[in-house]
């Protein structure tokens, strides 16, 4: 394989990796807030993208639709947490996972029913010409990565430097003590869901121009996003983004070098292999329990 092709694959991998990174960020977000991985996150992102698409169909300009959708997605996340997830708050973890699975199939089914299954093109806010006329990355791909990094930075600042972010982290880690300090744990969870919904919407809007909008858009991405989030360390947003890029590049290079017949298998084996060596992910913190 020529060097030029390798470079090409790496850049293409970074572009796909950007997709995984943005969804992984939403997964990490919800984990940080609730200590649960929400498998329905991908479907929520897809549904939010359909909302954006519908808004664009009414003639709304792009950025207006963008921000309106993000706001709607935030509200939707909060509502889902309060209405659907709250009744099973104290149930065993797996029961909550089943609720997530139920949510996943409902949203997927509804999207197909309301919007049909024909693929829809989704516009990109970035120019069609590649930056500096380069052959490797399109402006949209670069732009999406940029937006993901901006969201990451905002999240970092939010969690580290704002009282609300601190309260959220506390509520997730130690709900009992947090209540004692006066933190409204229930609303912290809802806020977490809202933020995850918003991030998911951004991810979906950035992804759709590349992969085309359809109800099953996120199914394949979710696996890699999950892998990316864990690879980077489930409690590290930066790790999730980095994990996304690594997974994207890995997938492309493996497919290019070893052929595509076992690409998925080899990529997964490698990821799991890394986790065997570093069981909390690359940047995750090892939880050491005192007995």
């Amino acid at each position: 394989m020529s060097f030029d092709l390798l470079i090409h694959q790496v850049f293409s991998g970074l572009a796909t990796g950007g997709i995984y990174a943005s969804v992984a960020l939403a997964l990490v977000m919800i984990y940080q807030a609730t200590h649960l991985v929400n498998f329905a996150q991908g479907e929520l992102a897809m549904f939010s993208t359909y909302i954006a698409w519908s808004l664009l169909q009414t003639g709304l300009p792009y950025w207006a639709a963008f921000f309106l959708t993000v706001a709607i997605a935030f509200v939707l996340g909060v509502v889902i947490e309060r209405v659907i997830v709250r009744p099973v708050e104290n149930a065993p973890i797996l029961s909550v996972v089943i609720v997530f699975i139920g949510l996943l199939v409902i949203i997927n089914s509804l999207a197909g029913w309301i919007f049909s299954y024909t693929i829809k093109p989704f516009p990109s806010p970035f120019p069609a010409q590649p930056l500096f006329g380069n052959r490797y990355v399109s402006s949209h791909e670069l732009g999406s990565i940029g937006i993901t990094l901006v969201v990451l930075a905002l999240l970092f600042v939010f969690f580290r430097f704002t009282p609300l972010g601190l309260a959220m982290r506390a509520a997730a880690q130690n709900p009992v003590s947090s209540r004692l300090v006066g933190i409204r744990v229930g609303w912290m969870l809802a806020l977490g869901w809202g933020l995850a919904g918003a991030i998911g919407a951004i991810a979906g809007i950035m992804v759709a121009p590349t992969v085309f909008l359809e109800p099953n858009m996120m199914s394949g991405i979710l696996l890699y996003a999950f892998a990316a989030a864990l690879l980077g360390g489930i409690d590290s947003p930066g790790g999730a983004v980095l994990g996304g890029f690594i997974v994207g590049v890995l997938e492309n290079v493996v497919g290019s070098l070893l052929g595509t017949e076992l690409k998925l298998t080899v990529a997964l084996v490698l990821i799991v292999g890394v986790l065997v060596v570093r069981p909390s992910g690359l940047f995750g913190r090892r939880i050491v329990t005192r007995v």
Binding site: L94, S95, I101, L230, P279, S280
Partner: protein, 319 residues
Amino acid sequence: MNTPSRRVAGLALLLMLACVLPFVVSNYRVFQCTLVLVYAIALLGLNMLTGYNGQISLGHGAFYAIGAYVAAILMDRFGVPYWLTLPVAGAVCAVAGFLFGLPALRFEGLYLSLATFALGVALPQILKYKGIEHWTGGAQGIVIVKPEPPAGVPLTQDQWLYFVALATAVLMFALGWNLLRGRIGRAMVAIRDQPIAAQAMGVDTSMIKAMTFGVSAMYTGVAGALGAIAIQFVAPDSFTIFLSISLVVGIVVGGLASISGALYGAIFIQFIPNVADEISKAAPWAIYGVFLIGFMYVMPTGVAGFIRIAVARWRRRRS
């Protein structure tokens, strides 16, 4: 108190009903009930791992698939009689499960679920791989001939297969019950609830955990083999990640850490999709999702857990 004699009587009654069933319903229903038995065995396997031992597996469909393919390849390529494929499939999956369980020891909770999820997603691709195509039939799969009842037995094929499945299920359930209430079963639960304390008490957590993986895979593999014989067909599309997710749904809805839960869960995952399909053609899975969420609201500990609570409450009211 739930005296042993009462429990034995209850089980005997259940068994009797199960034996009468194939003679009062149509062949088609018998076939569906056979599938319920198959899923029940698979769910018991998964429940051992996840319910009793606390290791979450989102990829158990892979072991089901391995069992199914072992049976199909033995029957189709080597002419092995169907009943012999069951223990072979079980043995192969036991080894596979144990080998998977060993590196899985490194993983906790979420990471284990990713590793098993990855297994469940990757297996269909592995099954389609060109290199092993002449064994597995590639994307086209393998067609299996349905077993006939032995000469002189006046049963239809479906009824015979039902009784084979019933016998296997009774055997597997009995073995499982014995295992779970013994020393090993207690060790499994101890590892789930208090891993450090268990280790401090001298329980070889690594060995038990890996062994549980193996046993759990064995159960699911036997179920897969039986399932393949019942359906008479295996193909990579039969064993997608949806199967693994259905199995998890089954054990949670049925009731974690409960043997009867395996049966309730099997009934759920076999029949509820059909019910959902009857209710709505436009969005059948939306209805299925509503069922899932509804069940979790009403019975967060599963059907078995719900029954346990209800029975306890009824007894308390009586006394």
